[in-house]
Symmetry: C2
Subunit: 461 residues, 2 copies
C-alpha cells in the first residue's frame, strides 16, 4: 500500500501533497476549461490539499476553478480553506452545493463556517439543515466568540450511568448515526450531567457484564461552555486530553471538544502571538491582498513612527553636543540598538512564559531578579567590548568610558523593561504579545540616547 | 462531580491547577520537612501540575522537596518536567525510584527521558526494564534525534488482515497488556506490513461477523521512521490525524505516533520559532539560571553589535555632513527604525508562511510582488507624514524632501529584504527563523542611513 521511503523530511507530506507536475497539470486543466481532467487529477487528493490549492491560485484562476469544480466542493474541503479566501469561495458557490456541503459537516465546522456571515446568509444556510442540527448550531452561536461553546461539536456519544459494556456495545451497533470520530463514551445521569467517561479501548477490552462505572477514567474533567478556547487548547496540551465533555451553566452536557480542534486552536494562538510580537495584524495570511496587508501593517508602523519621533526629541535636546563631538552621532545608534535587542530577547521569553502560564506569582520575583542580573552582566560585557571599539576608533578614553557606562545603564533598563512591561500589561488585562515590543523599544531608545548623550555632555564638553 | 462555573477564563485550569493557598501550604510543608502533609496536599493534583510545581521551586527548596516526596515521583510526573530541570531532578532521585518510574512509562517517554543522558546512566536505567521494553527503546535510540522513530511508541495494537470484528474484540478482551491510550487497530499482513486501520468507534459499532478489512479508514497513511518530527506534527494538524503507524525502511510496522505527542511537538516547534525570531537560544526557559541565560543571549547580542557597528560605519562616512546639518543626526534614527520595523513585519509573515508551507513555488512571486507594492505604498504614506513633520520641525523643505525620499527607498528595500532573505535562507537549507531578523535589520539600517545621509549630502550641502 505504501512504498518504502528513504527521505528524512517531507516524506509523510509527499504522500498526501500534490506534486509539482500535478499542480502544473491542474493549471493546464483550468486554463483549458477541462472539468473531467480536473476531477481525475484531484480525485486522490486529500481535502486539505485541495483547500491549499484553492488558496494558492490567483483570484482569476480561482474563479474559473470553482466554476469547473464546484460540484466536487464538499464540507471537508470548505472547512479546510483559510477564512479570508473561504468567504470569496462561498460567494461563488451555487447555493445547493453549499447547502449539501453544510449538511455533511460536523456542527463545530458549520459554526466556524457561518459565524462571521451576515444574518440573511446564515439563515439561508441553516435552512438547508435538519431541525435538530439547526437547533444545535443556533445554540452554539449564542455562546461568545472564541468560547468552548463555539469550538465544541454537539454530537456526543453518551450512555446511562448504570449500563454495562454489553449494553453499550449493543447500543453502538444499533445506533444508525454516530460521529465520524469519537474516543469516549460519556456516562450521564438522568438529568444529563456527565459523571465520567470510558475510553473505547477499555470498552473493547472489557467483558460484556462489566459495569461502565467500574472502568471510567481518573482523568475525567469537564469544560465550561464559556471557557476561552485558548485556555481549552492549553489544557488539552498540558493534561494530554483526547476529548472532553462541555457543560453549560447547569453542569449539563451540551457537547464535546476533541483534540484535533484543540490542536488547531493551539496552532492559531501561536500564530497570533508571533504576528502580534512583530506588530503585524494577527489575522495576516500570505494570501492577503495588498489593501488588506496595508490595513494590517500601517497602524503599527504609525505607532512606531510616533515612538521613533519621541526618541528623536531626546537626541534634539543634545544637538549642540553632537555638533561639537560628531562621533556621538556615529555611536549613538549602537547603544540604542543593543538595548532594543536585549529588551526584545527578555520580553519574548517573558511573553512566552506568560502565555504558557509558567511565569506565576511563585516565581515572578526570582525571574525579574535573574533578568536584572543578566542585563547588568550583559551591560558590563558589552561596555568592555564597545569601550575598546570606541577607544580605538575615535582615540578617546573619555568617549570610551561614556559609551561603556551608557551600555550598562541601557542593557540593565532593557532587561527590566523587557520583563516588567509584559507583566504590567498582563496585569492590566491587555495582551502582552500585542503591545510590549513597542513600549520596550521606546524605553530602550529613549534611555539609550539620553544616557549616552547626557553623559557625553557632562563628561566631554 | 463538577461544580457549576461562571468564569470565562481559566475555569478548566482551575479545576486542575494548584490554588494559591495550596502552594503556600506546600511551601510550609517543605520548610517544616512535613512529608505526610506534602503527600496529602499533592494527592489530588495532576502529574502535570506537580511537574509545574517542581519547576517553579527555588533550587534549594526543590532539593528538600525531592527528599520529602521522592517516593511519589512517578513516570508521569517525570515526563512532564521541563528538560533543563529534569536532569537536576533525576540526579537527586534514588536509583530505585527512577527505575520504577521508567518501568511505568510508555516507550516514547522513556526515550525522551534518557536520550540526552550519558551512556553509563542510560545503561543503568535500561537495566531496570524488561528485555522486550529495553530492546524497543534501544531500537528507538538508533534513529536520528527529532525523527519519528524517537517520537513513536513501540506499543501498537495490531490484528491480522483476515480477522473479523468478533475475533478482534475477543483478542482485546484476552490480552493482558494494552497501551493506556490507543485509537486504532492496525491491520498487518504476515510480514508485519501495515495495510490499513480500523477506528475503535467503527469496531464497536460493527457486528461481530464483519471483516476488519471492510471497515478500514480511507485516511490511512504511514509515516517513515526517519521523518522529521516537525513534519510529522504538521501532517497531524493538517490532515486531522489521531494516530498513525510508523514503518521502517522495509515498510514494516515499528510503532505508532499519537496526536498528543504530535501536539507537544507542534507546541515546541512554535516556541522555538518565536524564540529564534527574537534572537534567543531556542531552548530558553523561564527556569534557566543566570549563566544559562547569558550563554543563550550573549552570542546574538554580539552578532547585533557587529551589525550595529557596520551601520555606524555608514554614518561615519557622512560625519562632515552631520556636523553642518545636525538635524540629520536627530532624524536619521527615525528612517532606520521605520525600515527595521517594516522589514520585521514582512519577514515574520514570510517565516511563518515558510514554516506552515503556505509559501510555495506556485505563489512565491505573487507574494514578493505584493510585499514590494506594500513596501512602496507604506513608503509613500510615511514619506508624506515624516516630510511634513520634518518641514514643521526644522523649517526646511529640502530636508523634508530628503527624508521623504529616504523613507520610500528604505521601506521598499525593507519589504524586499523581509521576503527575499528568509526565502534565500530556506533555499540554502538554513532556518529562516534563526537568522533572518539580523540580516534584515542590518540591511534596513545600512540602507536607511545611506539613503538619508547620502541624499542629504547631495541636496543640502
Amino acid at each position: 500500500m505504501t512504498e518504502p521511503r528513504e527521505a528524512e523530511t517531507d516524506a509523510a507530506e509527499d504522500e498526501f501533497q500534490l506534486s509539482k507536475q500535478d499542480i502544473e497539470a491542474i493549471g493546464k486543466a483550468i486554463d483549458d476549461g477541462d472539468s473531467p481532467a480536473l476531477d481525475s487529477l484531484l480525485e486522490p487528493a486529500h481535502a486539505a490539499d485541495i483547500a491549499d490549492l484553492i488558496e494558492q491560485l490567483t483570484p482569476a484562476r480561482r474563479r474559473v476553478f470553482l466554476q469547473l469544480y464546484s460540484g466536487e466542493i464538499d464540507g471537508e474541503i470548505l472547512s479546510e480553506i483559510d477564512e479570508g479566501i473561504r468567504d470569496e469561495v462561498i460567494e461563488q458557490l451555487p447555493h445547493e452545493v453549499l447547502a449539501e456541503a453544510v449538511r455533511e459537516m460536523d456542527s463545530d465546522d458549520v459554526v466556524d463556517l457561518i459565524e462571521d456571515m451576515g444574518a440573511p446568509e446564515q439563515q439561508a444556510l441553516l435552512a438547508a439543515l435538519d431541525e435538530s442540527d439547526r437547533a444545535a448550531i443556533e445554540q452554539s452561536l449564542t455562546y461568545p466568540e472564541y468560547s468552548a461553546g463555539r469550538l465544541m461539536q454537539s454530537e456526543v456519544v453518551t450512555a446511562p450511568e448504570h449500563w454495562t459494556v454489553g449494553e453499550t456495545i449493543d447500543f453502538l451497533r444499533s445506533e444508525e448515526w454516530l460521529p465520524d470520530q469519537f474516543y469516549h463514551v460519556v456516562l450521564v445521569d438522568p438529568r444529563r450531567h456527565p459523571i465520567g467517561y470510558v475510553t473505547l479501548g477499555k470498552l473493547l477490552a472489557s467483558r460484556r457484564d462489566v459495569a461502565l462505572r467500574d472502568i471510567t477514567e481518573d482523568s475525567f474533567r469537564t469544560i465550561s461552555v464559556l471557557q476561552e478556547e485558548g485556555d481549552v487548547a492549553h489544557a488539552f496540551n498540558k493534561y494530554h486530553l483526547i476529548s472532553t465533555p462541555v457543560v453549560d451553566e447547569h453542569d449539563r452536557l451540551v457537547g464535546m471538544i476533541t483534540i484535533d480542534d484543540a490542536m488547531s486552536v493551539l496552532d492559531e494562538e501561536h500564530e497570533e502571538d508571533i504576528l502580534r510580537l512583530a506588530g503585524v495584524g494577527d489575522e495576516s495570511a500570505i494570501t492577503d491582498s495588498v489593501a488588506e496587508t496595508l490595513r494590517q501593517r500601517l497602524p503599527w508602523l504609525m505607532v512606531n513612527l510616533v515612538t521613533a519621533i519621541i526618541a528623536s526629541l531626546v537626541i534634539a535636546v543634545f544637538e549642540t553636543t553632537i555638533q561639537q563631538v560628531v562621533a556621538l552621532a556615529v555611536l549613538m545608534p549602537i547603544v540604542a540598538s543593543m538595548g532594543g535587542n536585549a529588551g526584545t530577547q527578555t520580553l519574548t521569553v517573558a511573553v512566552r512564559a506568560l502565555a504558557t502560564k509558567s511565569l506565576t506569582g511563585s516565581n515572578v520575583w526570582r525571574v525579574v531578579r535573574r533578568e536584572a542580573v543578566v542585563g547588568i552582566l550583559n551591560g558590563f560585557a558589552f561596555a568592555v567590548v564597545m569601550g575598546l571599539v570606541a577607544w580605538v576608533w575615535f582615540d578617546g578614553i573619555s568617549l570610551a568610558a561614556v559609551i561603556g557606562i551608557a551600555m550598562i545603564v541601557n542593557l540593565a533598563i532593557a532587561a527590566l523593561a523587557g520583563i516588567l512591561i509584559p507583566l504590567a500589561l498582563e496585569k492590566a488585562g491587555a495582551d502582552p504579545a500585542l503591545a510590549s515590543g513597542t513600549f520596550v523599544t521606546t524605553v530602550t531608545d529613549v534611555v539609550g540616547f539620553f544616557a549616552f548623550l547626557g553623559l557625553a555632555s557632562a563628561v566631554l564638553l
